[in-house]
């Protein structure tokens, strides 16, 4: 297979929702100490669901593309939706990951779960 899906290429060449929301309703950061990848998500809520998301990320091109896709994907989701997502779901959503890129799905899943936790217990649940 190609090293990158069309969707990942589109997102790492034209990333969407880059940045950090001021005074977000919830946020989450994860770091993968093995690959050095980092993702920080900030979201704003409306009616119990994410209505706006921004990301900043560091890592390989696949990690950046995945982070951009995730920031677009989460809009409309609630904390239970986020918590239900696993690596396979992320991999499917980004159009597949080549061997050696599975850490990108793990990084994305961890930040989604951390965001769900923050929404349930942190600022997002207030």
């Amino acid at each position: 297979m190609a090293r990158f899906s069309d969707e990942i290429v589109e997102h790492f060449t034209h990333p969407k929702n880059v940045g950090e929301l001021p005074e977000p309703d919830a946020d989450a950061s994860v770091v993968d100490p093995v690959c050095g990848g980092q993702v920080h998500l900030t979201v704003r809520m409306g009616d119990g669901r994410i209505c706006e998301a921004r990301f900043v990320a560091y890592g390989c091109a696949a990690a950046l593309g995945t982070a951009s896709i995730v920031a677009e994907w989460v809009v409309g989701m609630g904390p239970e939706d986020l918590a239900s997502l696993d690596e396979a779901a992320v991999t499917q959503r980004v159009g597949g990951l080549a061997p050696g890129q599975s850490h990108c799905a793990r990084l994305a899943m961890e930040v989604l779960h951390a965001l769900a936790d923050d929404l349930r217990t942190g600022k997002g649940s207030e």
């Binding site: 790492f12 560091y58 950046l64 061997p99």
Partner: protein
């Protein structure tokens, strides 16, 4: 005979088409800046190889079919000898740079297997040389790996001090594949010669770009680095130092390397050597390559956060190794590729965890700077417009990546 083909005449026929992922440039040409990895085949080389396909004989056969094939090899041998300024019988065709380096380093080790001894190389060599040296060390030889200065160069005085009565071989490259830094080849080879030690020069990156002044010892080149085909190279043998051949069978290549010759590849190599000789004798081409390289270097250096790692002096102008502060080279290279710019990361990227370049670390660079190093390398086909466009796309890519992760780490 040298063909009269110039680079200008060759242009346009070798347009590099975009890969499917180069969506930003469809349907235009790709911007190919990875010529230290490999170069496009020149039309004159392709034509020579196509013509040679008609000649199918085994060069070792005594009949007319064999003679025709042997004649093609003879002509290529003369062309190669003209490029490298040696005698045709000193040319040994092989499969390329890795085999060339192994044949000299391992071959020398095997020739001295009973009496043992010592070898010398440098810390910035290509893995083909370093791993061959490592293998010989496993056979029981001692190995000195010479350090380099901040420009990536070996001090000839350091080599002199490292030479011993039992030193069997010195193997030091001419131009570095990652930075383009040129070693003081004359002084290094002289030091070895004065000590009576054979010298091997990995000139894979230099062939076709610079005249190589090695008059004795061994020299290795590879055709695909100077617009020839892949899978064929040459080691010149200008010494009677003991050397055990590694490939057994017939007595091809003056009994130095057995195996039916790669006639098509050798013809291509010979045609590439002809074109290279024309370029080397053309003062305008020598000026042009300096201008193109200088333009690339200045353009990349002007990008925010860029630090050029290739030395300003004593360097192949075609090669510009540049680090982008705070960014990962593997990421930059992937994004550039998606935008139709082919460059190379200075790091060896294994799965998710890139390793910093041993060359840049040996030059004293930090691991972080080495991990941000991208290599751009030109050829005689690279144009000024391509340089300007590649620089512009690189600058935009670096700006975008900085924006994407500026806040990470403080979150």
């Amino acid at each position: 005979m040298h063909s009269q083909t110039t680079c200008e005449q060759e242009k346009g026929v070798n347009d590099v088409t975009c890969p499917p992922t180069a969506r930003g440039r469809e349907p235009g040409r790709a911007l190919y800046f990875d010529n230290n990895a490999t170069t496009p085949i020149l039309p004159s080389v392709r034509a020579a190889m196509c013509e040679a396909m008609e000649t199918f004989g085994n060069p070792s056969s005594v009949h007319f079919c064999g003679e025709a094939a042997a004649g093609l090899i003879d002509r290529a041998r003369v062309s190669t000898a003209a490029l490298l300024r040696c005698d045709p019988e000193q040319v040994v065709f092989n499969s390329g740079g890795s085999e060339g380096a192994s044949s000299v380093i391992v071959g020398t080790g095997l020739a001295h297997l009973r009496d043992g001894g010592h070898g010398i190389t440098s810390a910035v060599e290509h893995p083909a040389v370093l791993r061959a040296c490592g293998f010989v060390r496993e056979l029981g030889f001692e190995l000195s790996v010479l350090p380099v200065d901040g420009a990536g160069r070996v001090d000839p005085g350091t080599l002199q001090k490292a030479l011993r009565p039992d030193t069997r071989l010195v193997s030091i490259m001419h131009a570095n594949n990652e930075t383009g830094a040129l070693q003081p080849l004359d002084a290094l080879s002289r030091a070895a010669r004065e000590a009576g030690v054979p010298f091997h020069c990995d000139a894979v990156q230099t062939a076709g770009k610079e005249r190589i002044g090695l008059v004795e010892g061994f020299l290795t080149i590879s055709a695909h680095k100077f617009h020839g085909p892949k899978g064929v190279g040459v080691t010149t043998v200008r010494t009677d130092a003991p050397l055990q051949k590694l490939v057994f069978g017939g007595d091809q290549e003056h009994d130095r390397r057995a195996g039916t010759e790669n006639v098509l590849g050798i013809v291509g190599l010979g045609a590439a050597a002809d074109a290279a000789s024309v370029r080397l004798d053309d003062p305008k081409e020598q000026i042009r390559r300096g201008e193109i390289g200088g333009r690339l270097r200045a353009g990349l250096a002007s990008i925010d956060g860029a630090v050029v790692n290739s030395p300003a002096e004593g360097c192949l102008p075609e090669t510009v190794n540049v680090s982008f502060e705070g960014l990962r080279a593997d990421t930059i290279v992937d994004v550039l590729s998606a935008r139709g710019v082919a460059a190379s990361s200075g790091s060896a990227c294994h799965s998710a965890h890139p390793e910093p370049s041993h060359v840049l670390l040996a030059m004293g660079l930090s691991a972080e700077r080495a991990l941000g190093a991208v290599r751009f390398s030109c050829s005689c086909l690279t144009t000024r417009d391509e340089v300007d466009e590649a620089v512009a796309i690189s600058g935009e890519t670096v700006r975008q990546l900085h924006a994407m992760w500026r806040s990470v780490g403080t979150a």
